[in-house]
């Protein structure tokens, strides 16, 4: 009796949860569906499911704006900035976790507080510096900005991961005469690999979606997918099937990555404050 009751409950919850889940997901689902319509059918929502499907919009988008170039830039910027940040962050996180001083907590707080500074406060100087150094619209320049933007989060995440590794193991390797570099790269890094991987994933997602700096500092050569999409906001370019196709192409890689990295995503963004 209780069992049947609970099955009934489970079915009701299932219906309810699916309804809400589909509602939340709807804008994305709708975009993907619209991308497989002709322009004429795309705005005829009332007859949406009675008309045919086509991949025409994708080929038009590909012809009009070179998707691969923007996508390559997104990949290079996201990967480049994250890897560069990791190289700087790993020694720092090691120091904070295994050789903490009195001010380590304050230092961490200060690093996080640099993220509090509104980007607009730094926009004009960075824009002028970039202009004078010829860094505007270059991948190198944007990689540096994105690296600095995410560095505090990366250090913080690595720190919370490293703290869970017993310091004795590192000490033992030191006793055996390993140098600091060897200790970090041969002992610590392999042990913290899951943590480092999730840091990498989360920051790739953040860098991929970063829109303020990429919109302000790039035009053509270094423009990532955020610019690719922004170019579809001009009225003459506004056709829903094409817009949908472009949107789907811009978000698909990161959504797929995000699905795989669900768990890591949570751990990362909570700074270890949620168990």
């Amino acid at each position: 009796m209780a069992r049947r009751e609970s099955v009934k409950r489970k079915i009701i919850v299932t219906i309810f949860a699916w309804a809400i889940g589909l509602t939340v997901f709807f804008p994305i689902l709708w975009t993907v569906l619209t991308s497989f319509k002709t322009e004429g059918d795309a705005i005829n929502i009332a007859g949406f499911f009675s008309t045919g499907w086509t991949t025409e919009a994708y080929s038009v988008v590909q012809e009009r704006s070179n998707y691969m170039k923007f996508a390559m830039n997104s990949v290079i910027l996201a990967l480049g900035s994250t890897l560069l940040a990791l190289v700087i962050a790993i020694p720092s996180a090691w120091a904070m976790a295994f050789a903490p001083g009195k001010r380590t907590k304050d230092l961490l707080m200060w690093m996080l507080s640099t993220k509090m500074m509104p980007p607009v406060g730094a926009l004009i100087p960075i824009y002028l510096i970039f202009r004078d150094l010829g860094l505007l619209d270059t991948r190198g320049g944007i990689i540096i900005v994105l690296m600095l933007l995410n560095l505090p989060i990366i250090i913080w995440m690595l720190y919370t991961y490293f703290k869970e590794i017993p310091g004795e193991i590192l000490e033992a390797s030191r006793m055996d005469g390993a140098s600091l570099g060897k200790e970090i790269f041969y002992v610590l890094t392999p042990m913290a690999l899951p943590g480092i991987a999730s840091t990498l994933l989360l920051n790739i997602i953040l860098a991929w979606n970063e829109a303020f700096w990429t919109l302000a500092l790039t035009t053509i050569d270094a423009a990532p997918l955020t610019q690719f999409i922004a170019s579809y906001s001009s009225p003459e370019g506004l056709f829903w099937a094409k817009l949908s196709a472009a949107s789907t192409m811009a978000i698909a890689p990161i959504i797929i990555l995000g699905w795989f990295a669900q768990k890591q995503l949570v751990r990362g963004l909570t700074f270890g404050a949620v168990k």
Partner: protein, 302 residues
Amino acid sequence: MATQQTRLLGKFAVSPSVAVLFLWMIVPLSMTIYFSFLRYNLLDPNAACSILSPGQLLDSANRCMAGFNNYKFFLTDPKFFQAMGNSLILVGWVLGISVVGGTLLALLLDQAFYGRGIVRIMMIAPFLVMPTVSALVWQNMLMDPVSGFFATVFKGLGLQPIDWFTNYPMTSVVIMVAWQWVPFATLILLTSLQSLDGEQKEAAEMDGTPPLAFFWYITLPHLIRPMTVVILIETIFLLNVFAEIYVTGTGGRAGNLPFLVYQYGLISNDIGGASAGGIVAVILANIVAFFLMRMIGKNLEG
């Protein structure tokens, strides 16, 4: 435990990141502060100084010193109050919706049902969508007053379609941004819910504790800490919302502080004014940060 030598090594290892972050903070900030006291237009750097009034001070690059005029101008610009109000509305509403909505969705996802993995993924997905994409999709395909999805549904029900972005620009932006950030809150609160002691739940069930009382006395206190994390992180990002307003062209009425500074700087080319605005934004963010850091600092101790 750490020896003198490792301490030294530690200082050495931490210095590159401290150095770059310090530069990243101090160089733009000091330049912004300096520019904020100049009459400096990017298109025509010397024009403002062509007619020299007596006693006019110049800097080494012959730019006019403006004293506090940029601040006076920015702080008395009616747009400033509007932008400030919009910033507060945006942060306040989205935070409120995220915490309440996130809690409800997390409670739902914590139940047993068929296809939980898929539903969870669907609910998280909006967080992964690029802000520029989300803005375009919402503005055009969903909220368009003529052939958008909502308009079609309204017409189907015999109702007058709503012209969202024209009549309710701020509401539209809030809805759009909340859609992106509720999933984030859900994800974090769900993780926390799942760590809630199962035995406590069973004990409460046996004692016949009403679900509402259980939520109020057990679940909610357990969620306070992850909620502060949600509030901290979302505030950082929400104070700086830009792409959604830029792409949808709602900056005129729904523009927040970052958008106003952008307008001053890169559209009007008024570097002095934009810098003053930037400094105002930094000061306001620091006030918010001060309270938030104390809050999370306390939480991280535990």
